[in-house]
């Protein structure tokens, strides 16, 4: 049964807006030209391919549904989940957070997991009488979860290093002969298929190569399809197109696209192949796969980076243009509004808003059907509050530009022709400030992804149960203080965030160069 969370709906809206804008831009040369220039930049297309992978994962993770509970598995599977969860939370399932000491988020998480387990138990008991009708779990999972169910379900006891076969901490193991030794126990899943752990390097090499070959095969298929399509459009033979493409003679640098695609595909398939048998980025404190967490965090990062913009854009555009174009009292009011808002420290405002929301959610827990919904609302709220604190910059830019445009001859001519103010704004001002909006949106994206990490780190970001790079870094704070050091959570979050932000920044640079009228006139 599909579930559409609020952020999901907004993501679909954003995609729709993107498509509509794309169609609009395709018909207007002043927008199509710069985008074409972006498409011809090797750096930009490489960045776009990388970002497409991220967006793909994010979209898959936004298709939520209640999984169907199979009548057969009804008794076994959920119970197993419960048992497993019980095993994870263990004795502190019902304890107060204080016992956990400084690791507040960890405690919260286990407390909430415990809550979910109780809910799950309720569901089972509720589902049992009407077993004939299809029943759905109250749990909400996404398509990505389904695809990664292997990663999601293969939990260990606690920390394990990347590609490890043994746990990272010593445990008391009861030997068959009854004696107890403290040693590193074998992992339940990671490398469990190996009879002898010393074969690990050979196995890794073999599986890695196998994954890479699979990736290359998929890549070859895509390349052949692309060349055939290009050849058909250019009315050239397959061979000619292929030669032109590999010599870099095409207008769009398809060669760069294909090379980037090859790297990404080989990496993905290798990771998939290895991830089926190992924890390629290790496991965290409660034994969850870090690779899975990193992949789940992508959606959070993208949502923060894009929805915030969506939230702030209408206000910034409308108020900015109105202030600049209408002037007078309107200008004064809007200027005072954003000057006031700007002088409140952003973090303070965000902290206040998030803490208020948290109190509200605790007091009205019954309004939320599941933890996922709660976390989602908090994410949306974070987007809104980030938007409220960040629209002023764009608003100020737009006010300045409209102020200039108001005096430009063609606006004066339109007024002399009796064109209404609303029409002047829509027809003359807005299209001529759109490049500023575009540049700001792309530049803000990476800043917002990073802002999420910082806010989650100080505990006023997304919900602690939600996977996000900020939460991963936050939990890695204490792990780094351990001896021996647990570095992989931080490294994984860093790697994924870095790749996304780097790609976004590279793209932003090209977009800005393409749309900035001063740079365009210089060339």
């Amino acid at each position: 049964m599909p579930v559409i969370l609020i952020t999901d709906a907004l993501i679909f809206l954003l995609i729709a807006v993107g498509i509509v804008f794309g169609l609009y831009a395709a018909r207007h040369e002043h927008l199509r030209g710069p985008w074409r220039q972006v498409g011809r930049s090797p750096v930009a297309v490489a960045a776009l391919v990388v970002m497409l992978f991220y967006v793909g994962i994010g979209v898959l993770d936004s298709l939520h549904f209640h999984p169907r509970i199979e009548p057969l598995a009804e008794v076994g599977s959920p119970a197993a989940t419960v048992n497993e969860a019980d095993a994870v939370t263990g004795p502190d399932g019902k304890t107060t957070p204080d016992e956990q000491g400084t690791d507040a988020s960890g405690s919260q998480r286990s407390a909430e997991q415990a809550q979910e387990i109780t809910q799950a138990k309720d569901t089972i008991s509720a589902a049992e009488p009407g077993a004939s009708a299809p029943t759905y779990s109250t749990q909400i999972i996404s398509v990505l979860d389904l695809l990664l169910s292997g990663l999601r379900e293969r939990q260990e006891k606690t920390f394990s290093a990347p590609f490890a076969t043994h746990l990272f901490v010593k445990e008391a193991i009861e030997q068959p002969d009854g004696s107890v030794v403290r040693a590193y126990p074998r992992l339940e899943h990671g490398g469990a298929h190996l009879e002898d752990p010393s074969q690990r390097s050979f196995d890794l090499l073999f599986r890695g190569l196998f994954g890479a070959i699979k990736g290359l095969m998929v890549w070859t298929a895509i390349m052949a399809g692309l060349i055939a399509l290009l050849g058909w459009r250019r009315r050239q033979s397959f061979n000619d197109t292929a030669t032109a493409l590999w010599r870099g003679e095409t207008a769009v640098p398809w060669r760069v696209v294909l090379i980037t695609l090859a790297i990404m595909l080989v990496l993905s398939f290798t990771a998939a192949e290895l991830g089926a048998k190992y924890h390629i980025l290790g496991t965290d404190k409660v034994g969850e796969d870090v690779f899975y967490q990193s992949l789940k965090s992508i959606r959070t990062g993208l949502v923060i980076g894009t929805l915030t913009t969506l939230v702030m854009l209408p206000a910034a555009i409308l108020l900015g243009i109105m202030a600049g174009y209408l002037g007078g009292r309107t200008d004064d009011v809007i200027q005072y509004l954003y000057t006031t808002l700007n002088s409140i420290p952003g973090v303070l405002l965000i902290a206040a808003a998030i803490l208020m929301l948290q109190v509200y959610m605790t007091n009205n827990a019954d309004q939320f059907e599941s933890l996922v919904e709660r976390a989602d609302l908090r994410l949306l709220f974070l987007c809104i509050i980030l938007g409220v604190t960040s629209w002023t910059g764009l608003c100020r830019l737009l006010r300045g530009e409209s102020l200039k445009l108001r005096e430009v001859d063609y606006v004066q001519a339109a007024r002399a022709l009796g064109v209404r103010h609303s029409t002047v704004i829509a027809r003359h001002i807005l299209p001529n400030v759109l490049h500023i909006v575009m540049i700001t949106v792309v530049l803000d994206f990476s800043g917002l992804v990073l802002a999420e990490a910082v806010l989650s780190y100080v505990n006023i970001g997304v919900d602690p149960t939600m996977n996000s790079w900020g939460n991963m870094i936050n939990s890695a704070r204490l792990e780094l203080a351990r001896d021996p050091i647990v570095w992989w959570s931080l490294a994984a979050a860093f790697l994924f965030m870095f790749t996304l932000v780097l790609a976004a920044n590279l793209l932003a640079d090209v977009v800005r160069d393409a749309f900035d009228p001063r740079l365009r006139s210089a060339s």
Binding site: E29, D409, R415, L417, G418, R427, N432
Partner: protein
């Protein structure tokens, strides 16, 4: 020439990539003697400025000199190292630029900037540097030079800044001064001051001047010899007297003919069809052949050599290949036929009732200060202007920049809300009615702007731009009839209907101005305010636009309020003239009365400052002291008295009333009667 100071031969420079290099100057050769002024004349895009930059070896990035030689006082410049070249720049050759506003660093004191130039070209002790700066400022005619040296550029007026630039160029005692359109950005009275200054300096120091300009009047008044540039080539070289007596190249001749003047009122101005060809192609034969009325078979191939029609003239044109030819033949098929019966219609309309009456129009801009935006004063941009625009006639509003003439235009159209006075159109006072009631009158009053590049939304198609007014005023609501009407209009202004689906940036300046005219015409107006519609255009393109405006006036019976600073355009186009100074009209009358018999001292000075090609018709330049005062604090009494050469003590008492001279001619001056 043996005694040449600067000898340029076969100079060829290119810009841009190797695949399609733009050959900005191609085989340019000329010589300048000591103490001589040589003018380089041509329209924009002909490579004048690039030639000057090539001489200084200051071509923009990607530019290179391909071949040729430049010798300054016998020293070859093109083989010098960059270090040696630096001593030549400033020391051997000084340069002044068109825009004094952007040539000075706004955060440094004027004196420091000149001192920098002084220090570069001679090791003077520190005390001597300051003295030298003051000396230079005095030499360029800046009053109170010691005080001015410690001021910042924004405290100086445009004319002052150009003087400072000249002072900087003089700091190294150059033998040759290259002046790149030195007065284009300045008003006529200031232009006259600067040109006089250049002449005086030349007399004193004996330096040579290379004057780059597009203004034939300036050339006629200041230069000794000239070279005409077309499409990167010099096509004619002559002494100024010989050139203005009989230009040898068809391009030169067309250029001269396209300058508007009172004598050409009856007919159309000569226009050159087409435009300057882009310079990124390989030329074969004469570059002007495609636009030339005398083009022959032989023009299209081979290299065109230099011919010498007389001792003082050289021309690159095959018409002179035959040594017997002495005169350029008359243009085939062209006759200066009168367009319509201008004179008759003028007389018939003189006593018609005014269509648009402006009485006591005031537009004041408040100066606000402090936290609560208290109004502490007003900039009186327009301060009581009376004008009458008659149907089918042109009223020219003349004045220097900053006198408020553009604001008058905007005030009439209610684009700037007037502070006081009346704008009566068919008996309705437009200043009293609400914005919504104004809409029906928008149809009748239209405006054309100065800058053809800024007056169209770059994001809209030409068809939509022209149709915008019809749509908003509900004249033609349907899409299909509107497009048909737009196509008609575009044909009418000579652009062609196929322009409808293109963007404004695909058109040249003159074509854009035509589209702007079509946009104004679309709502079938009665009065069009033309705000300097030709001042951003080259003279041959200006002629096309003026012809079009005149034709449209005759066909459609339009009235124009023609705002301009160009007296020659006024004398060609206008029936009546009003001269503005500091927000007020100082003299008003028919074109003949005001231009031939000016009574107000300001009008006299303004007219005398206009450079003229006609030597006999040249007046003694009345030099005005100082600059126009700020309209926020106009002088007490007559606004003009601090600069007036004829001022009396009474002028300080009160603003003079309007004194009638004839039935139509009036001036605001107490001395009008003295001269009668």
């Amino acid at each position: 020439m043996r005694d040449a100071l600067l000898q340029v031969s076969n100079l060829t420079a290119e810009l841009g990539g190797d695949e399609r290099p733009v050959r900005v100057c191609d085989g340019v050769g000329f010589a300048i003697r000591r103490g001589e002024t040589m003018a380089l004349l041509g329209e924009s895009g002909c490579g004048k400025s690039m030639t000057a930059l090539a001489l200084m070896r200051l071509l923009p990035l990607g530019g290179r000199i391909v071949s040729g030689s430049v010798q300054l006082a016998g020293r070859e410049l093109l083989t010098l190292t960059e270090r040696e070249m630096r001593t030549v720049r400033g020391g051997g050759m000084g340069m002044i630029f068109q825009e004094p506003q952007t040539s000075l660093n706004p955060v440094l004191r004027v004196g420091d900037q000149i001192a920098e130039a002084v220090r570069l070209h001679g090791r003077l002790p520190r005390r001597r540097v300051t003295e030298r700066v003051v000396e230079l400022l005095r030499a360029v005619g800046i009053p109170d030079p010691a005080r001015r040296a410690s001021e910042y550029p924004h405290q100086l007026s445009g004319g002052m800044k150009q003087r400072v630039m000249i002072a900087m160029a003089l700091a190294g005692d150059p033998q040759l001064l290259i002046a790149d359109e030195p007065t284009t950005a300045l008003d006529v009275t200031i232009q006259a001051q600067v040109l006089q200054l250049l002449k005086g300096l030349q007399r004193e120091t004996g330096m040579a001047v290379l004057l780059i300009t597009h203004d034939l009047g300036v050339v006629a008044e200041t230069a000794d010899r000239l070279a005409v540039m077309y499409a990167g080539q010099i096509v004619e070289q002559a002494s100024v007297d010989a050139f203005f007596a009989q230009p040898a190249h068809p391009y030169s001749r067309k250029l001269l003919e396209s300058v508007p003047s009172a004598g050409k009122r009856r007919g159309e101005l000569a226009v050159i069809p087409g435009r300057v060809p882009p310079l990124d192609q390989a030329f074969e034969g004469c570059r002007f052949a495609d636009r030339c009325p005398f083009v022959m078979e032989t023009c299209r191939s081979g290299r065109i050599e230099w011919y010498q029609p007389n001792t003082e003239q050289w021309v690159r044109c095959l018409l002179w290949a035959d040594p017997r030819s002495r005169f350029l033949p008359d243009e085939p098929g062209a006759s200066p036929a009168a367009v319509g019966s201008d004179q008759v219609s003028e007389d018939a309309r003189t006593d018609a009732d005014a269509l648009l009456v402006i009485e006591g129009l005031k537009v004041h801009f408040p100066i606000q200060k402090g936290l609560f935006r208290r109004t502490v004063g007003h900039v009186k941009a327009v301060d009581g202007v009376d004008l009458h625009i008659k149907p089918g006639q042109t009223l020219a509003l003349v004045g220097e920049s900053g006198c408020g003439k553009t604001t008058v235009g905007k005030g009439i159209l209610q684009l700037e809300p007037p502070t006081g006075g009346q704008v009566r159109y068919t008996g309705v006072d437009l200043t009293r009615i609400a914005a919504r009631q104004m809409r029906p009158y928008r149809k009748d009053l239209q405006i054309i702007f100065q800058d053809p590049f800024a007056s169209m939304n770059p994001r809209m198609l030409v068809g939509d731009i022209v149709g915008e007014g019809m749509q908003s005023l509900g004249i033609e609501r349907g899409r299909v009839p509107r497009r048909r009407r737009v196509a008609e209009l575009l044909e009418q202004v000579g652009i062609g209907a196929q322009a409808m689906d293109r963007y404004p940036h695909e058109f040249s300046g003159g074509q854009r101005q035509r589209i702007c005219i079509a946009r104004a015409l679309a709502v079938e107006p009665k009065v069009i305010v033309c705000d300097e519609p030709t001042s951003a255009l080259d003279v041959s393109v200006q002629a096309q636009i003026l012809n079009l405006l005149k034709r449209l006036q005759q066909e459609l019976g339009l009235s124009y309020l023609f705002i301009t600073h160009d007296i020659s355009v006024v004398s060609y186009l206008a029936q009546e003239v009003a001269v503005m100074y500091l927000g007020r009209v100082v003299e008003q009358g028919t074109a003949a009365e005001v231009l031939d018999d000016p009574r107000h001292p300001y009008t006299k000075a303004l007219l005398s400052a206009v450079p003229s090609m006609d030597k006999a018709g040249r007046r003694e330049i009345i030099r005005l002291e100082g600059d126009m005062p700020s309209p926020s604090a106009p002088p007490v009494g007559c606004h003009f008295h601090p600069r007036c050469p004829e001022a009396l003590p009474e002028c300080r008492q009160a603003y003079p009333a309007s004194v009638p001279i004839t039935e139509t001619h009036r001036a605001h001056c107490i001395r009008v009667d003295d001269q009668r």
